[in-house]
């Protein structure tokens, strides 16, 4: 499948490249191949990936938009589409116990499904990392089972705890740090999604796969202890 991304000036020193407004793995691959090509050829201040977009931030004011777009278009046409986009598959432990899953009961009533069913539907899916945004280490995941789609909360919570696993709309994610948040909370993961002390502060990259593995409260505590004394290794399936 081929796309025709569009190019727009964003402010006076950034260019927004957009694909059709869909959450779709073909678009993700196209974006990641194009991004590789751009980063090989153009010196940028920053490069921000979204579901269907790349925002290129230049270090200077753009005065020759047309020629910039033309060279980007050439890069797009000639981009290399080799190499694996799906690099890794990570297994993320999640405790879905009611102590953490503070919205499970509400979701169960709203969706008319048992709590067990909701947990199973969440834990059995394979998710794709589309990009990392919002907060340091916050993974935007695609692949939530349609049967557990539930709207975001009308009023966001001011303090969602670190590690909270939540669903909202057709998205799911883990809050890497304490923050405000409007999604429905179903569990908590003891692992660290962002550690500035590490060489790679966030272990995941766009294109990776994620599965959630249900763990008991005891296992949760064990893993948390290991994370705290730096002896925990996130499980990698591939």
């Amino acid at each position: 499948m081929t796309f025709k991304p569009t190019y727009k000036l964003f402010g006076d020193s950034a260019i927004l490249i957009e694909w059709p407004s869909q959450i779709n793995e073909l678009i993700l691959c196209d974006i990641l191949y194009f991004k590789n090509e751009i980063e090989k050829n153009i010196q940028l201040k920053d490069c921000i990936v979204g579901y269907n977009s790349i925002l290129l931030v230049y270090d200077f004011l753009i005065e020759d938009l047309a020629s910039k777009i033309e060279s980007l278009h050439d890069l797009y046409q000639n981009k290399e589409m080799l190499g694996e986009i799906k690099n890794s598959h990570w297994k993320i432990p999640v405790c879905y116990d009611a102590t953490f899953g503070v919205d499970l009961e509400y979701i169960s009533k709203e969706l008319k499904r048992s709590i067990k069913e909701i947990i199973n539907l969440h834990a059995e899916a394979i998710y794709t990392v589309y990009f990392i945004g919002f907060l340091p280490g916050f993974l935007y995941l695609g692949g939530l089972n349609e049967q557990i789609i539930i709207p975001r909360k009308g009023t966001p919570r001011l303090n969602v705890v670190k590690g909270a696993v939540a669903i909202g709309g057709n998205q799911t994610g883990v809050y890497p740090n304490e923050s405000p948040g409007g999604w429905n909370i179903i569990g908590n993961s003891p692992i660290s999604f962002f550690d500035v002390q590490k060489e790679h502060p966030c272990f995941a990259s766009p294109g990776d796969e994620i599965t959630f593995e249900s763990v008991s409260l005891e296992e949760y505590q064990q893993i948390k202890d290991q994370v705290e004394n730096n002896s925990y290794q996130i499980q990698q399936v591939k």
């Binding site: 927004l16 201040k45 920053d46 921000i48 945004g133 919002f134 907060l135």
Partner: protein, 281 residues
């Protein structure tokens, strides 16, 4: 070295932030008013991007533990050294033990304490700018001690003082360009956005400024996409939010305007109840 005797309401160490880490969700951060910071660093013969102390709403008290050259820029909160007032935007030599304090607000919100050599601090992800979860501290606290970078005495003559046009603090006009979703707004909304005067709500900080007046809105949220400091978002309930330096890297609200660097600097010197008007560049 500088000892923080009193950090005031909200003071942080800032340089020009950490662009380039959006791929792991890290905000850019950096000084809110880059213009004021560059003036201070220029007058001190520093690198323009050297780290400074950003003081919000005045009130801080800082003691110098060695003889230093300093320059106070940005918001004017009647700066004093050992009780005698000093000039803004001018290089001042302070003696060991001298104390910088602030008094009455004259204009602006964010004051910059720039020192010869720049503030020295650990760089995390290539920047000294404070940000929770990235740097050890997220605000300056009483008793904190900051080092300054060593510098060579130079004979080069530079201006030690300049006159700044205060109008920049009083200006209502915020310079911007159209955002990627501006075209989705109706003609009426577009006119309201660029003709009306908006009031800054009390929800304004380094992450963003929410405005009081609502803009009637039928726009659907967009698929989460990149945002920048200075991006103006429109929420489903019609709230207008101007993102500032500590903003998230992606967002799901339509991006209706984009402030220029100058627009961000002017806005960063405004606070609750101040009036602004967006003006297209």
């Amino acid at each position: 070295m500088i000892t923080v005797l009193n950090p005031g309401i909200y003071s942080t160490v800032q340089d020009f932030g950490r662009p380039g880490f959006a791929n792991i969700g890290v905000p850019v951060s950096g000084v809110m008013d880059s213009y004021a910071t560059k003036i201070g660093n220029q007058l001190l013969n520093n690198d323009l991007v050297d780290a400074v102390i950003e003081i919000t709403f005045g009130g801080g008290k800082f003691k110098f533990n060695e003889k230093l050259k300093i320059c106070v820029t940005g918001a004017n909160f009647s700066p004093e050294v050992d009780g005698s007032s000093i000039e803004m935007h001018s290089v001042v030599e302070v003696e060991k033990g001298a104390v910088l304090s602030f008094g009455k607000k004259i204009f602006g919100v964010r004051t910059y304490l720039c020192v010869r050599g720049g503030i020295s601090a650990n760089k995390m992800l290539e920047s000294k700018s404070f940000y929770k979860g990235i740097t050890n501290s997220s605000i300056l606290k009483k008793g904190d001690i900051l080092s300054t970078n060593a510098f060579q005495l130079e004979n080069k003559k530079t201006l030690s003082k300049i006159k700044i046009d205060d109008n920049y603090f009083k200006a209502k006009l915020i310079e911007c360009t159209l955002g990627p979703e501006f075209d989705l707004l109706s003609k009426i909304q577009q006119e309201q956005l660029t003709r009306n005067i908006f009031t800054i709500s009390n929800d304004n900080n380094r992450v963003g400024y929410r405005l009081e007046e609502l803009l009637e809105n039928q726009l659907e949220p967009i698929l989460t996409s990149g945002v920048l400091p200075g991006t103006v978002q429109l929420t489903p309930s019609g709230k207008v939010i101007v993102l500032m330096r500590d903003c998230q890297v992606t967002g799901g609200y339509p991006r209706i305007l984009q402030l220029s660097e100058e627009g961000i600097n002017v806005l960063s010197q405004k606070t609750t109840n101040d009036k602004i008007k967006f003006v297209l560049k």
